[in-house]
Assembly symmetry: C2
Homo-oligomer: 134 residues x 2
């Protein structure tokens, strides 16, 4: 699929594409969604498991972000009435498909570092808050 194939001929991209971009950015929005999705790509997990694997996240943030991901159709939440309760979080089929986006990001990132390594990428300025220790 080549969305920008005839880029010279157009000046705007269709509204549906802008919405699609928005939804995808939204899926990864904030400091913690990417590591959470990343860890869930390796299989469904319980709350405490995610908390342990996504280092330095607080339960407040984890809870909030999981809720976000749930209402956005990216993870499902299943409660088992064991004692104490177990709650499992799992990526939806749509959520699992995010790995394709992540792969294209990894591809770009690797290439970008390669082509810029000679120059000044030590000067890469990162936003202050970004975790991402998958």
């Amino acid at each position: 699929m080549k969305f920008f194939e005839k880029l010279e001929n157009i000046t705007k991209c269709p509204v549906s594409y802008v919405l699609a971009l928005q939804d995808t950015l939204n899926a990864f929005h904030g400091k913690w969604k990417m590591p959470i999705i990343g860890t869930l790509l390796f299989g469904k997990k319980r709350f405490k498991e995610i908390e342990r694997e996504v280092r330095k996240i607080t339960p407040r943030m984890l809870s909030q972000e999981l809720k976000d991901l749930e209402v956005n159709g990216i993870v499902t939440r299943t409660v088992y009435n064991t004692t104490p309760v177990t709650v499992e979080y799992e990526l939806t089929p749509s959520g699992r498909e995010l790995h394709l986006v992540m792969e294209s990001m990894i591809t770009w990132g690797l290439q970008h570092r390669q082509t810029n390594i000679m120059e000044n990428l030590p000067a890469l300025n990162m936003p202050k808050q970004r975790a991402l220790e998958i």
Copy 2:
């Protein structure tokens, strides 16, 4: 390239991939980078042109974000000593390659809306600050 092909067999992704993901997220970080990159995909532009096309951006934000993109090797800044000065911003080759990432985002976003339209995607909760009127 299938990074997660044997996902069952691994529990972590390599550090270089995490850095690559970080760089890519960084390229799009904040409310304004995506629309700026988006508009520059249609060709190089002057400061005021971008300011007009990326609606509601303030010169302060535009200046700041363009600087970010420049030090990160995504745009170049060229000054012509006309009167008054003209300054042109253009995507680097690496910057232009971001369209591939954007395409994969659009693909995912479109699919995600399709598979979730029956359910509750009116409930899609967006972050407060997001512009994206490309």
